[in-house]
Amino acid sequence: MTVTMAKALNDGLRAAMEGDPKVVVMGEDVGRLGGVFRVTDGLQKDFGEQRVLDTPLSESGIVGAAVGLALRGYRPVCEIQFDGFVFPAVDQISSQLAKLHYRSQGRVRMPVVVRIPFGGGIGAVEHHSESPESLFAHMPGLKVVACASPSDAHWMLRQAIASDDPVIFFEPKRRYWEKGVVDDDPPPLHTARVLRRGTTAVLACYGPMVRTCLDAAAAAEADGHDLEVIDLRTLSPLHLDPVFDAVRRTGRLVMVAEAPSSVSVAAEVAARVQEECFHSLESPVLRVTGFDTPYPPSRCEDDYLPDLDRVLDAVDRAVAW
C-alpha cells in the first residue's frame, strides 16, 4: 500500500505516541487543525490536549518549553510551521537544546525532535521556502536529518523520537503529497543510502533534491551516463562512507542541494571528499545548489531551484573535465 509522505509522518507520530506515553507533540495549529500540512491530523482527537499541544505563537517558547519538558522526562516533538519561522527559536536550540547534555556532562538528556518543513517549489510567499539546514549542522550537540521518501519519513521520524539526542528533522514540504511504500526494514537513522548504482558519476543529495536527482539519473541514461544516486539522509553527523566508496569507483561527484552553496552541507561534502578521495577524483567536486541570495519571489523559484537540466549540465562538465 502506498501512502503520502504527510500520512507516513502522521502514522509515525501515532506509532511513537502509542509506544511511549512521554511523547508529546507541540506546535502552532498542530491540534484541532492537524497542522497546516495536516501532518498531525487527528492526533489531538485521539491523544488529548495534554499530548498534542496547540501552543502560543511563540517559536522560542515551543523549543524552550520542550527543553523544560525534556528535563522532566518527556520526549517532545516540536513542529515549526515553516522553515523561515525557526529563527526566534534558534537561541533556545543553540544555547540550551544543543548544549545541555554537554554542559551537564551527560546528567540530563535532551530527547527533543524539532520538525521543520523546508525548501521551496510550492509558490509560497517569502519565509516559507527556505533551507536553513546548514545552520543547524554547524551547531555541535545537535543531530540533523532530512527525509526524502514516505518510508524514510515514517521510520526516520520514529528513530529520531527514540533518540536521546536532540534531532532537527527536515521534511521536504513539496514532497509531502508524493506517494510511496513504507518499508518493513528501515536502515539506521544516521546512515546515507545508495538509491541507484552507477559508474559514470555520483549524485549526492538529500531532502527534496533526491527526487530531482533520481529523475536526472533516469534521463541521463539516454546520454549514455550511468549515474549513482546517494541520499545523504543524515546531515549531522554526516555518513559519507558510501559517497567515498562511490567516488573511488567513478571519480566524479556532483553535490545537489537547494540551500545556498557557500559554507553549506554541500561545501562540507566537497571538502571531505577531496580529503578522502583526492587521488580518485577525475574532476573537481561540483555543486548544484540554490544561489547565495535570499529566497527569491516565487515566480523566480524555477530558476533558483536546482532542476534536472542543471544537474545534468554539471554531470556533463564533470565528465568533460
Partner: protein, 394 residues
C-alpha cells in the same frame, strides 16, 4: 484562589510612569507603597497580616539558621571574589547584597520542587544542597556546572539572559501533566532572573506560556537595580511586579533585603502554585552591592553614595540586630557562625587550588548521548596528535 494582595489595579490608578525610584540621585531608595516587609532595616519585626501566617513557625532557632545561611554564603562569595583577584578564578559573579532574597526563596523550596537559576544564585544553590565548591568549576574553567541538576533539584546556571524562564515553564507544565498539582505530592518550580532579563522575549514568552497552561511556576525576579551599567528605567516604565497584571497572574513586590519577608512571600507563592493557582511573579527589591562581575567597574556608572545608602538596608545586619535586641541571642552564636564561615572559606580555597586540570579528552566528552562516529574520529585524531608530543618529549 486566595490572593492576599490586591494585585488588580484600582480603576483610578494614576496613568503614566510610577512614583520615582530615584531620590537625590540615589537609585532604588523608594520601594513604593506595595512593598512587603516583615523586618525593618533597623531590625524591628513589624506586623504583616497578609503574610505573617506563612512564617509563624519561624522561631528563634529558625531565624538563627537563616542568618547563618546568609553569613556563610556571603563569606563564600567574598572568598571566591578574592580567589578571582588572586588569579585562581577567571571570573566571579558576586551575590553581595542579595543574600536575603536568595536564602528566603531557597528555604521556601521543598525537596520535590525544582529551581532554575540564572548565574548569580549561589545562595539558592546553597539551599538546594549544592556545595559552594561545586560552583567553582564554571569560573575556573574546568566545567560548565559540576552539580547534578536532577538530584539537587537545581538546574545548571543559565548564562544566556532569560532562557531559563521558558525551560522552567516547560518543566512546570510537566509537573502539571504528571498530576503533581494539588494533592499531597504537589510540586512547584521556581525560576530566578534579574531586572535586565525582564526585557528579554523569553521572559515574556515564559509568562505567556505559564499563564495559558496554568503552570505551577514562581517567577522570582531579583531587581537589584542594575543590569551591568543599565538602570531600571532602561528596562521598564512600570514597577516590574505590576507587569504580572497584564499576563493575568499575581505580582508581589517584596523587600529583597528582608529574609523573613522573602521566605513568607515565596512560601505563599509556591503554595499557590502547588494548589493549582500558579503562576506567580515575585519582584524581590534589592541591590547589587558589588560589581556585576569581577570584570565590571561600577564606579563608571553609579554613585558611591548609593551603595552607602543601601548598606543601611543590609540584609544580614537587620537580622543580627533583631536576634540580639529582640530575641536575646548571645555572642556565642555569632562566634560560632563566624568560625563556621571561616572554615567554609578555607575549604573553598583549598578545593579551588586542588582542582585538576581537565585533559584534552574532556573537550569531546558527552557532546551526544548516542555515538557520533564522526566526532569519535575527530577525538581520536587529536588525542593521537597530542600523544605524539608526549612521546617526543621523552
Amino acid at each position: 484562589m486566595s490572593v492576599p494582595h490586591d494585585w488588580i489595579p484600582a480603576v483610578d490608578a494614576p496613568p503614566g510612569p510610577p512614583r520615582e525610584h530615584v531620590l537625590a540621585g540615589l537609585r532604588g531608595t523608594d520601594e513604593g507603597p506595595d512593598l512587603v516587609q516583615l523586618l525593618t532595616p533597623e531590625g524591628e519585626r513589624i506586623a504583616c497580616p497578609a503574610y505573617d501566617a506563612h512564617v509563624a513557625d519561624v522561631d528563634t532557632a529558625a531565624l538563627q539558621a537563616l542568618y547563618r545561611d546568609m553569613v556563610l554564603v556571603r563569606r563564600a562569595d567574598r572568598e571566591a571574589t578574592a580567589l578571582q583577584r588572586q588569579g585562581e578564578l577567571g571570573l566571579w559573579v558576586p551575590l553581595l547584597g542579595q543574600e536575603a532574597a536568595q536564602i528566603g526563596a531557597g528555604r521556601a523550596l521543598r525537596a520535590g520542587d525544582m529551581a532554575f537559576p540564572s548565574y548569580r544564585e549561589h545562595g539558592v544553590a546553597w539551599c538546594r544542597g549544592v556545595d559552594p565548591t561545586e560552583l567553582l568549576g564554571i569560573f575556573r574553567g574546568t566545567d560548565h556546572g559540576g552539580w547534578d541538576p536532577v538530584a539537587t533539584g537545581f538546574h545548571l546556571y543559565t548564562i544566556v539572559i532569560g532562557n531559563q524562564c521558558l525551560n522552567a515553564t516547560g518543566y512546570a507544565m510537566g509537573q502539571r501533566f504528571d498530576g503533581r498539582v494539588g494533592g499531597p505530592e504537589a510540586e512547584a518550580t521556581m525560576c530566578f532572573f534579574g531586572d535586565g532579563a525582564t526585557s528579554q522575549g523569553d521572559v515574556h514568552e515564559g509568562f505567556v506560556w505559564a499563564a495559558v497552561y496554568d503552570a505551577p511556576v514562581v517567577f522570582y525576579c531579583q531587581n537589584n537595580q542594575w543590569a551591568i551599567s543599565e538602570p531600571n528605567e532602561r528596562q521598564t516604565r512600570v514597577p516590574l511586579y505590576r507587569r504580572a497584571q497584564g499576563y493575568g497572574f499575581p505580582g508581589i513586590r517584596v523587600d529583597g533585603n528582608d529574609v523573613l519577608a522573602c521566605l513568607a512571600v515565596s512560601r505563599w507563592a509556591l503554595e499557590e502554585c502547588r494548589s493549582g493557582n500558579g503562576p506567580v511573579l515575585i519582584e524581590a527589591f534589592t541591590y547589587r552591592m558589588d560589581a556585576h562581575t569581577t570584570s565590571d567597574d561600577p564606579s563608571r556608572y553609579r554613585l558611591a553614595d548609593e551603595l552607602e545608602l543601601w548598606k543601611l538596608k543590609d540584609p544580614l545586619e537587620r537580622v543580627r540586630v533583631h536576634l540580639v535586641r529582640g530575641l536575646g541571642v548571645g555572642n556565642d552564636f555569632f562566634d560560632e557562625v563566624a568560625a563556621d564561615s571561616d572554615a567554609l572559606a578555607a575549604r573553598l580555597r583549598a578545593h579551588c587550588l586542588a582542582m585538576p586540570q581537565p585533559g584534552p579528552e574532556r573537550i569531546f566528552s558527552h557532546v551526544y548521548a548516542e555515538p557520533s562516529p564522526e566526532l569519535d574520529a575527530q577525538r581520536d585524531a587529536y588525542l593521537a596528535y597530542h600523544a605524539s608530543f608526549e612521546g617526543g618529549a621523552e
